[in-house]
């Protein structure tokens, strides 16, 4: 059997296995066996993470993204499992640390599901979306819309990943494709300039919680996170 055919069979096997596991996961969620459901997602991700790297270094971009999306879906399911477990106690919003944990997890789950929403649909996605919107409503009713920390940076210059020049000197647009490569602006010598309190942040994980205000008037808060939807794949 040729290597190409082997890879095709391997991908078909991963997809059908993913489908079987997602059915088992739904049954576990239905019976509230959250630890087992979590383990199931974790094992599927760990097992197929190595496979993803194989596609990365071969010329199978389509297969790579197909598997990448599947793994993001399983991580979203894992986030949802953890959220369901954390919100079992209906008074969870009275516990500050749990509230913060649920908020961060909700942001991760939302970001991940939005990444795959264009190409994935089905009962699982619908269930997660309904759950997230209910959770959002609870947060709004209990804690309002919130204030968020938003940092501003001063950078010597941005370097274009396509031509390696100062971005002010070239015409490549950040995020567009050029000969199969995505243009990215890389900051050079980044320095923190200020932190603002805003209502409309880029990263909702940087929420300022009122209970983190200390007696001397200072507030403990997170102002920058290094979250990426696929960060679990490199761990």
């Amino acid at each position: 059997m040729t290597r190409k055919k082997q890879r095709k069979n391997q991908m078909d096997y991963i997809m059908s296995n993913g489908l079987k596991i997602s059915k088992r996961w739904r049954n576990l969620m239905f019976t509230k066996k959250f630890s087992l459901a979590n383990k199931l997602c974790h094992e599927f991700i760990q097992k197929n993470k190595k496979e993803l790297n194989k596609y990365k270094y071969s010329n199978s971009e389509k297969k790579y993204y197909k598997l990448w999306r599947l793994l993001i879906l399983f991580k979203t399911m894992q986030d949802y499992t953890e959220l369901s477990q954390l919100t079992q106690d209906i008074m969870w919003h009275k516990e500050y640390k749990i509230t913060e944990k649920i908020w961060d997890k909700k942001c991760d789950c939302t970001d991940r599901i939005n990444t795959i929403l264009d190409c994935c649909s089905g009962v699982i996605i619908d269930e997660i979306l309904i759950f997230l919107s209910t959770l959002e409503e609870i947060f709004e009713n209990e804690f309002g819309c919130g204030l968020y920390a938003s940092p501003g940076f001063i950078i010597d210059k941005f370097v274009c990943s396509i031509c390696l020049q100062d971005t002010r000197a070239c015409t490549h647009i950040n995020g567009r494709l050029y000969d199969g490569k995505i243009c990215k602006n890389k900051p050079l010598h980044l320095q923190l300039d200020h932190i603002s309190a805003v209502v409309n942040p880029k990263d909702k994980r940087c929420r300022i919680w009122p209970w983190n205000k200390k007696e001397d008037g200072t507030i403990e808060m997170c102002f920058l996170t290094l979250f990426a939807v696929d960060d679990f794949l490199s761990k």
């Binding site: 919107s133 001063i154 880029k202």
Partner: protein, 120 residues
Amino acid sequence: MIDTDDSIHLCKLLKLENISCANSYDLRLDSKVSHLRSGQIELGIIWVLDKVCLPILIGVIGRIIGDKIINRLKSKNDELEKINTQIEIKIVDDNLSIISIKHNGDAEKLMKILEGLKND
């Protein structure tokens, strides 16, 4: 003087529309870049030396605001929030007098002001 990443993006889009324009780099000014991690759009000060390019400039600003709104909608399901925009447009008139428009607020309002300017 500090450039903003939004103003650099605006300049690139204008150049792609064949509008002759210069940024700090073209003018050989040694300036750093500010980058905000928020929903705000900071376009800085734009000097318009020829009114002919106004419709294209307004179209490009509209596109930048539109892209930002689409990104916000994607990340918040269907919740529409107001995008704050900071901009100052200085138009040099035929008599070399300067008309200045300064806006720091809602992007939707800015677009209405700019559309009005296009019609004038």
